[in-house]
């Protein structure tokens, strides 16, 4: 009996020792520490809409659609698992996971990212090559790499038209190689 009472006293002591621990949330914020994986944010200045994130996303919530001269990149964050694979896949470091976690909403459309980018079409056949930013990046890389290439007139051709152009004019290929 005594033993029983002692164990009950010990249990009471555990509670007493702890005191009041309840956090003052929501009256005061309680932000996560460290590199929290919260709501993904797209840096639209850096993004060139290559689609690496769409390939990496395990919840398959990122979609890319080409319509005329516009490429639409959209994120349906309702089913986002906050895994960060899109961030890891992005070559431009355009996706960051913010520390925002209070994401509740009555209108689920709020949970989305919608971005539109201009496309470049092949100047011969009209096929989509990539976004304007991708093409600009390639041009820039070609000009700044060692040794640099000044003639980037073939950048706005699609792969098959580029091949055709080189076959008809092999001298060009040599020139580029040199």
């Amino acid at each position: 009996m005594l033993k029983h009472t002692i164990s009950e006293l010990k249990e009471a002591l555990i509670c007493l020792e702890a005191g009041q621990v309840t956090l003052p949330y929501p009256f005061q914020p309680h932000p996560p520490e460290g590199e929290f994986r919260g709501k993904p944010v797209l840096n639209s200045r850096k993004c060139m809409s290559c689609g690496a994130c769409a390939n990496a996303c395990p919840a398959r919530l990122i979609s890319i659609q080409d319509n005329g001269s516009i490429r639409t990149l959209s994120f349906n964050l309702r089913r986002c698992t906050f895994c960060g694979l899109c961030r890891d896949a992005c070559p431009q470091e355009a996706i960051t996971l913010s520390s925002q976690f209070e994401l509740s909403t009555v209108t689920p459309e709020d949970l989305s990212i919608h971005a539109e980018f201009g496309l470049v079409n092949c100047r011969e056949c009209g096929k989509v090559i990539g976004t304007q930013r991708q093409v600009a990046l390639v041009k820039d890389k070609l000009q700044t790499c060692e040794p640099g290439f000044d003639d980037t007139g073939y950048v706005d051709l699609c792969n098959s038209c580029k091949r055709r152009a080189f076959i008809h004019n092999p001298a060009l290929l040599m020139e580029v190689k040199a």
Binding site: S7, G34, C83, G84
Partner: protein
């Protein structure tokens, strides 16, 4: 640490059977692969069980029709003493899709064989219970989702005539339904107890309300590198165990060695997960027997672990750190300074709680002698984890199938012989305190260096098996690598899968009031705190117990 027994070599597998016997196929690291014709299967399984002391893990079916024209049914065994795995497969001609059942030899294979029938459509002949196990009640009879010609996003029209019929209770007994929404189970699940007054005389089970199609997703839609995120979401409490186990399985099949630092980081997180999971269990177990004070206090003690993992990994629960070849992010620069005080505090506070539990006479009276699972029953149902160790079985995947950094750490395999709920409680308490010591060792020995290894292309059709000791028991992942950057077949065996099968043995003859805590003592990840009783009114004279009544009944016993 125990020294492993002499490795079983391909030659040891040989036995003479009528139809060719065991044929050795592959031996890679610790995994032996052998094939056997279906006519010889039962004898071969007997040989593995009796002569090689193999412990059955699970059966898995693979649709290999596009590769070699057959279905392949594999039986997985653990050879604990030798630290090996054995995969025994039989190729089944699609013209006669059946295989002799091994449930007669190994009762713990009952669900796995029913699952093979549901998912692949190969019938285990001679199986005592061929009702549906996994698929929903309104699923059409001849559609098997793990066949490769079944598209993942197909949702076939309802066929309500296939509803699983609950077996009727024996004469004079009444049906006492628990579920499908019930607090002590991971998933909404439906347990039907047959009772004579207060005594349970039998039961029937209908589960798998949580079947989400994880394995199909893994072998038809996601890639190798996306699956860790999926594996982590198999279970919200021990998700990191699943993603670690998956990554190890692929690493084994592809022959990748991960950096030691990555192995230590995995171990650290696995043990932090064990700490929070065991504290969670202690709290909920107390809640089930009406001891809410300790429920609140145990969860209070647990909370700093959640903040710690949030700080280290970026999320409280789904850590998202595992990648094939290692981990994706390093520990923060001040991780050691952050972890140590939290661990110290948890150790001190857990010691107090443990002290209170172990000395508490009423708690002990409530749990001792209840929910008995004998050592023989535990062995025959192939239970794992604290459930097995509470019944005197000395198995622990951390020691028997070492992975991550467990081979360099010292820890105790906590075995109790009480076979009751009290024994399982003691096992978990000892493991909780032990896990804290493991975290300390990990911090002490943490090597520096890279955290992820280079991963080349993964050769198709390689087999990998790996186990990790989760808080609930060993998690086993099996993989057959595939050609299009994803597994051809990925099989997950969670510990509760086997542990739940032992409920009939545990409850038959028990008092009704012991049922919730007995089921809870298996720690099948708790999901919901509330319950309702829904009864199939068609089955006639069924008494409907309301939640309040059941709770009252059950609290009364605790007083």
């Amino acid at each position: 640490m125990a020294v492993p027994a002499k490795t079983i070599q391909p030659a040891d597998l040989k036995i003479n059977l009528k139809n060719g016997g065991l044929r050795f196929e592959d031996f890679r690291q610790d995994t032996l692969v052998a094939s056997v014709s279906k006519e010889d299967l039962v004898e071969a399984v007997r040989h593995v069980r009796d002569d090689l002391d193999g412990r059955f893990i699970t059966s898995t079916g693979t649709d290999m029709r596009t590769v070699n024209g057959n279905y392949r049914i594999s039986q997985l065994f653990a050879l604990d003493a030798q630290r090996q795995f054995l995969v025994l497969y039989s190729d089944i001609d699609p013209q006669s899709p059946d295989i002799p059942a091994i449930t007669g030899l190994i009762p713990g294979a009952a669900w796995a064989e029913r699952e093979v029938r549901d998912m692949i459509g190969v019938t285990p002949t001679g199986h005592p219970d061929l009702r549906r196990l996994i698929l929903p009640d309104d699923w059409p009879a001849d559609v098997h989702p793990l066949r490769r010609d079944f598209p993942i996003d197909e949702r076939p029209p309802a066929a309500p005539e296939n509803k699983v019929r609950i077996n009727l209770p024996p004469k004079d007994a009444s049906l006492f339904p628990i579920g499908p929404f019930f607090p002590t189970l991971e998933e909404p699940t439906f347990i039907n107890l047959y009772v004579h007054g207060e005594q349970i005389v039998g039961m029937d089970y209908r589960g798998f309300y949580n079947h989400r199609g994880v394995e199909k997703l893994g072998d038809s839609e996601l890639t190798y590198h996306q699956i860790p995120a999926l594996a982590e979401r198999i279970c919200g409490i021990c998700g990191f165990v699943h993603s670690s186990s998956y990554c190890q399985t692929v690493e084994k099949a592809a022959g990748i060695t991960i950096p030691r630092r990555a192995a230590y980081i995995r171990t650290l997180l696995l043990e932090l997960e064990r700490i929070h999971s065991h504290l969670l269990w202690i709290g909920l177990a107390c809640h089930f027997i009406g001891f809410d004070t300790l429920f609140m206090q145990a969860w209070r003690i647990r909370e700093p672990v959640m903040w710690l993992t949030e700080y280290i990994t970026g999320n409280r629960k789904t850590y998202g750190m595992n990648r094939i070849g290692g981990v994706s992010r390093d520990l923060p620069f001040d991780a050691f300074e952050r972890i140590t005080p939290v661990i110290d505090k948890i150790e001190a506070q857990s010691a107090q709680v443990v002290d209170a539990i172990v000395e508490d006479a009423s708690l002990r009276a409530r749990l001792e002698g209840a929910g008995i699972l004998s050592t023989e029953a535990a062995r025959s149902y192939c239970v794992v984890g604290p459930t097995a160790r509470g019944s005197g079985l000395d198995i622990d995947a951390r020691r028997d199938h070492p992975s991550a950094a467990y081979d360099e750490l010292e820890f105790e395999v906590c075995v109790e012989t009480g076979c009751d709920i009290w024994a399982r409680t003691l096992v978990r308490i000892r493991e909780l305190l032990d896990a804290i010591q493991i975290v300390r060792q990990v911090l002490k020995k943490m090597p520096s260096g890279p955290i992820v290894a280079e991963v080349d292309e993964i050769t198709p059709y390689q087999v990998g098996v790996s186990g990790v000791e989760a808080p609930r028991g060993e998690v086993i992942h099996y993989i057959l690598t595939g050609p299009d950057n994803r597994p051809y077949r990925w099989r997950v065996r969670a510990p509760s899968y086997n542990n739940l099968q032992s409920i009939p043995a545990m409850l038959t003859g028990a008092n009704l009031a012991d049922a919730p805590i007995s089921v809870g003592s298996l720690d099948p990840c708790f999901s919901c705190t509330e319950r309702i009783q829904v009864v199939d009114r068609d089955s006639g004279n069924v008494r409907i117990y309301r939640q309040a009544e059941l709770l009252e009944k059950f609290l009364a016993k605790g007083r």
